[in-house]
């Protein structure tokens, strides 16, 4: 591996042609073209390439090992390392069938938990998104002096770690929310007594300060001409908010929505405290953590279950990379 030269790197075809186009563009101004070309050459020395290749390989191997193992038969996982797959070949989908479809009581039965994860994430993303954009609009476009102070206060709330809020919020929920959930269950028996409501509310509450701050940054930069023209035409605040502000803020809304979705999907702490842990409510991460605790040696199940739990965030990551990175960078101090 150490003899791999830069030319042998797995470079995608379209990226190569893209770079060629760029080079052609810069070549128009000869001076700039040679300059970047020279810097490019100097910085990518052979040692640097080798080191970055090693880092890239080290970073990929753990996930790769998990993925390979999840397709191996249980007895092979138990007795041989995944790197010996060519000496001990074997391919099976049983692990996935076992964790997803099997209804035997010893199986993890992940289906229900996947539904929970989706159900939790959808509303725990939508609620803070709408409430935060409403608040951000008010903070940016309805002007009173004390409102600025309120905004600074909300901004400052970002420094409160999640952990500070957990105990009292659980107390509030068990005094006020639980009777309401029981009442809901009595009215409509198909709704389980343990339901998603506490998780939706908790995630929304914790997300709001950051969401308001990010969306305010964006919404306050909408040109005032646009808003004022609409007001002169007799539009109400409600109309301006829905017809002008929300459409214009779509990129910011998308970035935050993706960040919040991934955050909720990957969360364990809030789920542990507010979900109750039954398969009526608990998300995938909680089930996976529980499996590690009780059946930490069942690697054929753990590998398949872990891969199922990471596949959706990874799909979002690869599909919506630009928004994903933007949202993540903006929201990285959350929690």
């Amino acid at each position: 591996m150490s003899s791999v030269a830069p030319a042998d790197l797995p470079v995608g075809k379209n990226l190569g042609s893209l770079e060629a186009a760029e080079a052609a563009e810069t070549a128009e101004s000869t001076e700039r073209g040679t300059k970047t070309a020279r810097v490019k050459k100097r910085l990518t020395s052979r040692t640097a390439t080798i080191i970055s290749l090693i880092i890239a390989v080290v970073w990929t191997i753990p996930t790769f090992g998990l993925l390979v193992s999840s397709f191996r038969p249980a007895d092979l996982i138990r007795d041989t390392g995944w790197w010996t797959i060519f000496q001990n070949p074997g391919f099976t989908l049983d692990n996935y069938a076992d964790v997803l479809i099997s209804t035997s009581s010893s199986s993890p039965q992940l289906g229900a938990y996947i539904v929970n994860s989706i159900a939790i994430a959808v509303l725990a993303t939508l609620i803070p998104l709408v409430f935060a954009s409403m608040a951000a609009y008010a903070f940016a476009w309805i002007r009173f002096k004390w409102v600025n102070w309120l905004f600074i206060f909300v901004f400052a709330l970002q420094i409160i770690p999640l952990q500070m809020a957990l105990v009292p919020l659980l107390q509030i929920f068990s005094t006020w929310l639980r009777p309401m959930q029981a009442w809901l269950h009595d009215m409509i028996p198909i709704i389980p007594e343990q339901n998603y409501l506490p998780l939706w509310l908790a995630h929304s509450m914790f997300a709001l300060p950051l969401a308001i701050f990010l969306l305010h940054n964006f919404i306050s930069e909408i040109p005032s001409d646009v808003i004022e023209a609409a007001r002169v035409d007799g539009a109400t605040h409600g109309q301006i908010f829905f017809r002008i502000v929300l459409p214009l803020a779509t990129p910011a809304l998308a970035s935050f929505a993706i960040f919040q979705f991934i955050w909720v999907w990957n969360d364990l702490l809030v789920a542990l405290i507010f979900s109750g842990g039954t398969q009526d409510v608990a998300p995938l991460t909680q089930r996976l953590a529980e499996m590690v605790g009780t059946r930490g040696q069942d690697w054929q199940r753990l590998t398949a279950a872990a891969f199922i739990s990471i596949v959706i965030p990874l799909a979002v990551f690869f599909g919506l990379q630009r928004y994903f990175v933007r949202g993540l960078l903006a929201g990285s101090t959350k929690g």
Binding site: T236, N266, S332
Partner: protein
């Protein structure tokens, strides 16, 4: 999961959406039908109402209450016993020390690797693919990462073949396999590796963007002065990305102070691996020691506070310059 269960869950989501839509619709109705007198005030109130209500119930009141609970014993009398426990019990002290080790190692190492990688792949062919590889772990949940790395650290006793990569490498090098996660103090460092694995991609992406902002002219000029690559890196690139370095270090520090899922999934805080956030959960929600849990939460807050303030200041200054 039976069909009835699935239907029940679907019904819950649909009802949740319906109720939420109704609430928003009602708010907008009030906003548009507000009385003429003091109209702006009315509209402002209704725009802000839901968010402020959520924040008051979910953050402001709980934060105050936690601060008070930290100074109370179970019967509600004022006491400092919770903090005395935190700073005198060997297990609790170990938790604090572990947290300090975490917050010293994770930000520095992941920033160092991220920076080196960003510099090495800068303007190289296939830079985009290199970046994706390092950045990918950040999309994986901490629980998922915990499982991935537990598999790497897996131990097999006796003469059986090792299935964990780390022990397989140790055995191949002629050593004895180790129960990594049960062996103190190496286990804490192995958990730290997982966090570094996740955070390095974040550091790399930010620093890579900053490096591209360093003017080519400066590097060119340094080159003409006959400097070598390392000198150019130290004297031109690093000063040019100082702001980004600070943001990366502080951001990862905050995330590290709050680390919970990794410890919970991999060792549950056993074998002397606990950290503040994990101990807070254990005390408050497993051992029913609400006072101790609150005290730990308050300590976490006090530790995070200066870093966040510093971070915000740096970010604000950067924005002003731009």
């Amino acid at each position: 999961m039976t069909t009835a269960d699935l239907l029940g869950k679907l019904l819950q989501v649909v009802m949740g959406l319906a109720v939420f839509a109704a609430v928003v619709g009602l708010l907008i109705f009030f906003i548009d039908k507000a009385p003429k007198k003091g109209r702006d005030y009315w509209q402002l109130t209704f725009f802000l109402l839901p968010a402020m209500l959520f924040i008051a119930v979910g953050l402001v009141y709980p934060a105050i209450r936690t601060s008070l609970l930290a100074f109370q014993d179970p019967s509600g009398d004022w006491t400092l016993a919770n903090f005395v426990w935190t700073f005198t019990q060997p297990a609790a002290i170990r938790t604090l020390i572990n947290t300090i080790i975490w917050v010293l190692l994770v930000p520095t190492i992941s920033t160092a690797i991220g920076l080196a990688y960003a510099v090495f792949i800068d303007k190289s062919r296939g830079e985009r693919y290199y970046k994706v590889i390092l950045f990918m772990p950040i999309a994986i949940s901490f629980v998922g990462a915990g499982v991935i790395w537990r598999f790497v650290y897996e131990y097999r006793g006796g003469d059986r073949d090792q299935i964990g990569l780390l022990n397989a490498m140790v055995v191949a090098a002629g050593g004895e396999p180790v129960q990594w996660l049960q062996t103190d103090p190496i286990n804490t460092f192995l958990l730290i590796v997982v966090m570094i694995w996740i955070q390095t991609g974040f550091a790399m992406v930010l620093l890579s963007a900053a490096i591209k902002g360093v003017p080519t002219e400066q590097i060119e000029a340094a080159q003409l002065d006959g400097t070598n690559g390392w000198q150019r890196f130290l004297n031109v690139t690093v000063p040019g990305i100082r702001g980004a370095l600070v943001v990366v270090l502080t951001t990862i520090s905050i995330a590290t102070l709050k680390v919970f899922d990794i410890v919970r999934t991999m060792t549950a805080g056993n074998f002397n691996t606990s950290v503040i956030a994990n101990e807070m959960y254990t005390q408050a929600f497993r051992a029913s020691e609400v006072g101790r849990g609150s005290a730990l939460a308050l300590i976490l807050f006090v530790l995070v506070l200066p870093i966040v303030i510093y971070n915000v200041n740096v970010l604000r200054k950067q924005r002003e310059i731009r």
